[in-house]
Amino acid sequence: MKRFLPLMVTFFIGIIVISSEFIPHKPFSSINAGLENWFLIISGFAILLGQISLIKVNSNKVYIKAENWQYYLIGLISFGVMVLCGILWGTQDANGILGSHVDLSKWLGSKPFVYLFDNVYQHLSSTMFALLAFFIASAAYRAFIMRSFESNLLMIAAVVVMLGRTTIGTSFTAWLPQGWRFLHLPDVANFVMNYPTNAAQRAIMISAALGIVGSSLRILLGIERSYLGGGD
């Protein structure tokens, strides 16, 4: 029963959502908007669940003094500081429970939450992604030395697109006469993006969408039940 009823809920909700698309009359016409709002609210709680779970896992590591527990403690403290700043003094657009607190904002130059976001979070985030540039370069080197026909295609397309979108790449073929303009690197890059790449992306979209439709049907009919988890 603990599994059967949720399966029935999934089935009926799915059927209602699909039916409402084809029946433009009340109550079906308003059901979709209502359900989407419910979906948003429950998703909000799901995000909170994820955060609480993160605190639980990290706290446990600190409690049992697992390897590198000091860093997990710092992670928990920074989480707490960010949440406290957000709740007490609010965000850029919203006031916190202590109001906008103009004096503190004047002293910091912005609200504490925004100050932390601008001066710590944003720097950490962009540096973390910038760091990936080095790893992408080494991964590309490993991929390209395989020297198969497919890897060569991949490399040529990557190089053409990169050069075609930069000034130096444009200058490489700027000397070409008007009759050979189709070999101008930005034009070649545009051609690669507009036709072969577009074809592959389109096919991936169509295939993935067919897969999503199939998976959705399996879920609604109760064939796919893994989302309910284990147990009774």
Binding site: W107, L116, H123, L153, A199, S207
Partner: protein, 213 residues
């Protein structure tokens, strides 16, 4: 004092930037510190974002301002609370109801939306007449577009062994996929490099004032 805090903020940013880049040498305490602070701040940021941008405007704000008109919102509020019960292992099964509602809604919506936007619209956009195009480049491109789309779809057809015509077309499809992945790879590299340039501009300009921002 605000000027001091601005400068302090730049130094904070520089410290964390260098701490993350120190990973290029090897894993070290500075990187671990910056990494955990990043995780903590990210979680904290999304926590606050969820409360202020999702739960307050869609739930708490409406219920507190006009309870009678929004009484139905108590149902998703209750389901949300049931979702949080997942943290208690013995009562975990209760969270299946909100999950069932979320999955049922998203399955229903996905079926319709993906069929419309990703299947029908894309198939319709591929049904073009290449000979009706204006330039030779567009004509050749349109032929490539149609052939490429069909070949890649053939590659994703796994219900039959890929041999004969199916094998040949799917092999052709792999080539299109490789070109597409190469182009995506090129864009990813460019995005990452531009982020790296941004970081160097921050360190050499805003922090050290060696270059003019």
């Amino acid at each position: 004092m605000s000027q001091f805090m601005t400068t302090f903020g730049i130094w904070l940013g520089a410290f964390f930037t260098i701490s993350i880049f120190s990973f290029l040498y090897k894993d070290n305490p500075f990187y671990k510190l910056a990494e955990q602070i990043f995780v903590g701040l990210s979680a904290g940021y999304w926590f606050i974002y969820t409360i202020y941008s999702i739960l307050i405007p869609n739930l708490f704000g409406k219920i507190l301002s006009d309870f009678n008109s929004n009484i139905m919102l108590l149902i998703p509020a209750l389901l949300g609370m049931m979702m949080l019960i997942r943290l208690i292992p013995k009562l975990e099964w209760i969270s299946r109801y909100p999950i069932a509602l979320v999955i049922g809604t998203s399955a229903g919506i996905s079926m319709l939306r993906y069929t419309q936007s990703d299947v029908l619209s894309q198939v319709a956009a591929t049904m073009i007449n290449p000979l009706g195009m204006n330039t030779i480049g567009e004509k050749i491109g349109s032929f490539i577009l149609i052939i490429g789309t069909v070949c890649v779809i053939m590659y994703f057809y796994f219900s039959r062994k890929q041999e004969g015509i199916l094998g040949a077309t799917s092999k052709f499809g792999i080539w299109f996929l490789m070109i597409s992945f190469g182009a995506s790879f090129g864009y990813t590299v460019m995005a990452r490099i531009s982020l790296l340039i941004g970081r160097l501009q921050f360190l050499l300009g805003d922090w050290l004032h060696i270059i003019k921002p």
